[in-house]
Amino acid sequence: MNRYLSNKKAIALFLLPALLIYSVIIIYPVLQTVYRSFFNWDGLSTATWNGISNYRDLLEDPLLITSLRNGLLFALVLAVFQIGLGTVLALACADPRIKGRKLLKTSYFIPVVLSVTVVCQLWIAMYDPANGLINRLFNLLHIPYQQNWLTSPTVSIIAIAFVNAWQFMGYQFSLLYAGVKSIPEQYMEAATIDGCSKWMAHRKVTIPLMKETYKFCLIVAITSGIGAFVQMLIMTSGGPGTSNYTLTYMIYRYAFMESNYGYACAVSVVLVSLSLLATVIINKTFDRNEA
């Protein structure tokens, strides 16, 4: 038995294909990105050592401020819409009196399985100033607010963030719902016997016990906000002007449109560092509350 299970040739054979493709396609490029961020490199000719000047230039790049601001704005919309509203929906859906739970859960999730391209195209149509659903609905309800949703420099980033929030709401909802469901019934019962109202009991009992769920939901909201790209690319090409740029959009532009690969690598390093930093901070904050 043991002779079988530590057969060196078999181990190598089972391990190597996955390990090789993973190392070449994921790990090696990560290291390359960090290394190349110190070079002046156009992707073709020989790179020249640049020290930290890519990073120095980045600090003075006006696009960096725009991108960071948009990333935070995006994350904020995602967090409030998905986690805030998602909590209300998850708590309501877990109520034993609710009928049609399966239908509700399934319908919330359907947008998640659609291609981002389809969803963006759909919302381009919905946001159309003259013929789109949104402006027409406002008209119908006599709400005096008509908007060029995607061409206004101030409104468009929120409009795009909303599309992302709408599409992936079902994902966060499923996690939150699973979180609510994982809390033993007795806790709620005890709280209501002690005279808590249902919502009070949720606020004092259910939500504090869902810490792990909230931690993950928040990490998803923040990191996908910082890294957002596809929605901006499809819906407004980063515009109007450069007002909807994000860090990933910067990488895309500098690398693939301007062949400034070294500089784009530096932006990638900043993006990854921010993502990891956000993850660590959220983890730390949530764990400290425990003590």
Partner: protein, 275 residues
């Protein structure tokens, strides 16, 4: 009073139900209308009569069959490879006995925390240097690598739970390690294979960013990529656009409706690790 309370709890759920579903209903409904009906006579309601011509036009004039085919080939081959490689890898980590298996497992887990953007640039150059640009390989190889960490994790979890007696009895019957893997372990983890297969197929089918960077040849474009270019070219033909979008979405929605539990399970397992 009790009734009112029940309504109050139900209300947000059904309001969000409409917000979640109505845009899709609207899309399907305008795919069956002509421009006149969409813009002037009947913008909100259901189509007065079903105009299938948008669908026939979408299928014959646009490159839809080609994109569809490309998406299918890329998604199914990558999914198949992910499953085979991840099963083998997880077996060596979870069931076999050797020194560095824990470090190798951690090494594989790193990939789950790497945002795709960080590998984008070197990957594009790698694909170019391997002469894979504008081939199926340009997408299949990265999709396999990206899918591996998550799939290995799921298989690892499953395989850890298998009792050792199963292998011992196989060993007594004289099976070697390869037969043990194929005839004992793989059948036992079939439920995990189903979860991974559906989840990976969905994500490969919908992947956009890498396809956008690595594929420029019209004949090699996948559906999400192909769809992008209708926007500019056919922006005035809303009915046709709606038909294209409906065709592109339907297979995924159907797969999801059949396997919703597996998909949601996969998502929840993923969250347990990253948190």
């Amino acid at each position: 009073m009790k009734k009112l309370r029940a309504v109050l709890i139900q209300a947000p759920l059904w309001i969000y139900f409409v917000i979640s579903v109505y845009p899709l209903v609207w899309m399907i409904s305008y795919s069956l209308k002509n421009n006149d009906e969409i813009f002037v006579t009947n913008p909100f309601g259901f189509p007065t009569h079903f105009r299938i011509e948008n669908y026939t036009a979408a299928w014959s004039q646009f490159n839809i069959p080609r994109y569809f085919m490309n998406s299918f080939i890329v998604s199914s081959i990558s999914t198949l490879l992910i499953i085979v490689l991840a099963l083998m890898f997880s077996f060596a980590i979870a069931r076999m006995r050797w020194k560095f298996r824990e470090s190798v497992r951690l090494y594989m887990t790193i990939g789950m925390f790497m945002p795709l953007q960080v590998i984008m640039i070197p990957l594009a150059i790698l694909v170019r240097d391997f002469h894979l640009t504008n081939t199926y390989g340009a997408l299949i190889v990265p999709y396999v690598a990206i899918g591996l960490p998550f799939s290995c994790l799921i298989f690892y979890g499953f395989m850890k739970g298998i009792p050792g007696e199963l292998e011992e009895s196989a060993c007594m019957d004289g099976a070697n390690i390869y037969r043990m893997f194929i005839q004992i372990i793989v059948p036992v983890v079939t439920p995990a294979i189903a979860t991974v297969a559906i989840f990976q197929f969905l994500s490969n089918w919908n992947e956009f960013m890498l396809a956008y960077i690595l594929i420029s040849d019209e004949a090699m474009k996948t559906l999400p990529l192909g769809l992008l270019f209708f926007q500019g070219q056919y922006s005035t033909d809303w009915g046709g656009m709606g038909a294209v979008m409906t065709i592109a979405s339907l297979p995924m929605v159907i797969i999801y409706l059949f396997f919703s539990e597996q998909v949601e399970n996969a998502m929840t397992v993923g969250s347990a690790v990253k948190g």
